[in-house]
Symmetry: C2
Amino acid sequence: MKLTYKGKTKDVYALEDGNYLLKFKDDVTGENGVFDPGANTVGLTIEGVGRAGLRLTKHFFEILQEKEIPTHYVDANIEEATMTVKPATVFGKGLEVICRFRAVGSFLRRYGMYAEEGQPLDAFVEVTLKDDDRQDPPITEDALDMLGILTKEEYAVLKELTQKIANTVKEELAKKEIELYDIKFEFGRLADGQIVLIDEISGGNMRAYKQGEYIEPLKLEQMMLEN
Amino acid sequence: MKLTYKGKTKDVYALEDGNYLLKFKDDVTGENGVFDPGANTVGLTIEGVGRAGLRLTKHFFEILQEKEIPTHYVDANIEEATMTVKPATVFGKGLEVICRFRAVGSFLRRYGMYAEEGQPLDAFVEVTLKDDDRQDPPITEDALDMLGILTKEEYAVLKELTQKIANTVKEELAKKEIELYDIKFEFGRLADGQIVLIDEISGGNMRAYKQGEYIEPLKLEQMMLEN
């Protein structure tokens, strides 16, 4: 088992059968010790957050599996805080795909002239480049195509998958009377070119609220997984 | 004749027949006394720049008229530095539509991970909101539609017109062995809903180079209009 990548919130190991093992760590993104799912830096370490994130990721990936929505998921070991996944390559040097149900965060910072805080948005999809040096710039379908990152056909698949998955998560949260404001995903291509959801779906990927109050990732994971 | 708007580089007067009069001023956008067509502030005043801008605008708008590409242009009076235009309303609170033939400026600042400086781009179109407080954020077709600024059908018209007009300007510059790197336009709707080019087409709207050397707006206007 060979370490192939050290990430902000997880490490990646190559397995001998060609799959990969993701090791979930206890670091979360944020700035100055405050959690922010949109931040590019690791802000703080919370004991047990890796395992909690994996538990929620497993929960959602298995729901997606039942719905036949393609992901890189193979299986998960909660004890070890590891998830086995199929090999996938990212688009370009990595994209983040955001789906928004309410106008908050960077959407509001950009389009505040036209949107009010918290205004409902209809599963609005946007793509940003993973580029810390350039503050993850937003990018259009045309630019993705022109720069050779993603074809127009792939963009259509990506957008449809994003809305399907985001709506699935939204429905799951709604069962616990929790409202999903926005969520970010990463996608990749399998060896055969199929576009699949990769990475994770945990509290750190989304903004969730209950009765107007923001729910921290760890709390969200507890609320979602308690019976 | 009533002053209805004081802009950075021109003032707008309402005429009695329903048309408007644009008065071109000698101010150009830039920062710290350096001209920058992408800047939001008026950086310097250059004697005669208003009249020169109008002369080039008149030149291009009349070429577009011959090609039956719709604009708000009625006529121009060089002596008075004024242009008469049809009434048009902007999209939302105003958009800038950029057409790029080479990767420079904000395109490179955003997508430098995937593009090299000066790399050819195939009449790439992007839209930004006119919003000084938010540094003119880029916006996608989906967001324009969702925020009620522009329908998808109008976006298609806008994009096609942008590429047609930018290619027209590019061809005109090429006759003087000048290369167009990028150009920005504003569009509006006439009373009947038709989408037309508004504002101006002058040196201040574009980046033009001759043998790899940037040409200042005033110089560009001289080079384009000399026989």
